[in-house]
Amino acid sequence: MANVTMRVWRGDGDGGEFESFTLEQNEGEVVLDLIHRIQATEAPDLACRWNCKAGKCGSCSAEINGKPRLMCMTRMDSLPEGPVTVTPMKAFPIIRDLVTDVSFNYVQAAKVPAFLPPPMPEGGYRMFQEDVERGQEFRKCIECFLCQDVCHVIRDHEDNKPHYAGPRFFIRYAELEMHPLDQNDRRDLIREEMGLGYCNITKCCTEVCPEHIKITDNAIIPLKERIVDAHYDPVAWLGRKIRRKPKTSATDAVVQPAP
């Protein structure tokens, strides 16, 4: 058992400052344990989101010593000696203390054109294992929004938010684009309205993902390559002309499938 100093950001939309708490740290504890101890002892009004404490609900996202991480999955003994700094996610507006308004992400989620399967064939839909496996990785996302938080496109440039979906939604787009039954073509939408071109593949989203999803390599870059197919590859353009395959526009992707 040892004592540790926690520097926790306290404040709201009117401003804030660090408040230091020195408290006991037990073996095997995670940052969220210490935050709970602060709530239980010195600051019962300290606001933080949490739910499962098992790294599966994505609620306790924060920045620990400046790095976006889940508080419940960050062991205290993995941090260097000295005061531990805990701040709210920087990319989103603060509500209070460690709680931020992540509604930007729900707005982007509502923009994703839905899965659009073909009419049900006789015997039902069939999907094979190799195609199932491809999208499986993306379904591990717990929507902690750490990837959105660390992405400098919106973290450092608020003005990009209206035209940039962010890494969490690029994996959703990739999952749908790689689905063998999906009929929607979202490539123009991803390029023109979701701002994939803003991503400069610095891979920070992959670095912070608690589910270890290879966001950049398996979702963003494959989407970028698909957009090259559709817009920047003259050979692919010629192929489309020869096969008389019409090119879609950004508004062609169906937002909600017909009932």
């Binding site: 603060i94 190799e130 491809r134 660390v150 496109v153 450092d156 938010k161 209206p162 920047y232």
Partner: protein, 271 residues
């Protein structure tokens, strides 16, 4: 405004939490950009110097060897030394022959997804590291000229494959010892290693992975492309390693050939 329009309108503004500082990271995040800048700058300085030298790039029959530097292969100018030519020459080219072909590896690496990550971080500080503030006030990413040209990566990949075939041919030629027969020298090992690393770098490329099978919606309907994709996917996971190894080794190969060609070093025969 419809319900969907109102649900999909981004509200800007709001006060961010935390102090207004560049970063709160306490680890040595700056090491990676410093290492990247050091290696890439050293490579650019050396390769520029080597490309303009226009000498000591071929070790020929006079010392019973057939070694050509990867910076000068294929040697396409009329001024190329005897033995290093490939049977085709651009008569009008008067500068160093290295300048003709170096545009291909330069373009391939400059547009490579891994190098983009590295130099955007290290040179452009956009951002210098994760959760460290971007050094620029505004940002448009790769949506405008000139960075929109990064989308030409797959064409440099195709040209790079042609270059790899020619460098593999050079590596096979390095087994030849004019006047003595065939054998293996240190130079042979160097050229074979160089060609192998360049193949691994090319085959692990993200564009290669996409073109092999990544672009299909259903693997089930494209079993052959699925096999290609399955083959290159593990290589793709090591793309960073191959990028650095091949970059450093191609420079070392040029250094080796240059030293042997200038007489400063003897190319020892292994067997």
């Amino acid at each position: 405004m419809t319900a969907l329009e109102s649900a999909t309108k981004v509200q800007l503004g709001g006060v961010r939490g935390g102090p207004d500082e560049t970063t709160l990271r306490q680890d040595r995040w700056w090491i990676q950009p410093v290492v990247t800048v050091s290696i890439l700058t050293a490579f650019v300085i050396y390769s520029t110097w080597a490309a303009f030298q226009n000498k000591y790039y071929y070790v020929g029959a006079n010392v019973h060897r057939d070694l050509v530097s990867p910076f000068y292969s294929p040697c396409l100018a009329r001024s190329c030394v005897a033995g290093s030519k490939i049977g085709f020459a651009l008569g009008w080219w008067t500068w160093s022959p290295a300048l003709i072909i170096l545009i291909v590896p330069l373009g391939f690496r400059l547009t490579c997804y891994y190098y983009r990550r590295s130099y955007y971080r290290a040179f452009w500080w956009s951002p210098p590291s994760c959760a460290v503030a971007d050094a620029h006030g505004s940002y448009s990413g790769e949506t405008r000229f000139p960075l929109i040209m990064q989308n030409a990566h797959r064409y440099f990949f195709f040209l790079g494959l042609i270059l790899n075939v020619l460098l593999s041919y050079d590596a096979i030629r390095a087994f030849r010892q004019p006047g003595l027969g065939w054998g293996v020298t240190v130079g042979t090992v160097v050229l074979v290693t160089n060609a192998t690393l360049l193949w691994l770098y090319s085959l692990s490329c993200h564009s290669c992975r996409h073109l092999c099978g990544g672009q299909v919606r259903s693997f089930r309907e494209h079993p052959l492309r699925y096999r290609f994709w399955k083959f290159v996917t593990p290589l793709n996971a090591k793309h960073m390693n191959f990028a650095w190894a091949s970059l450093i080794f191609v420079a070392l190969t040029d250094v080796y050939v240059r030293l042997v060609a200038s007489g400063a070093l003897t190319d020892y025969k292994i067997f």
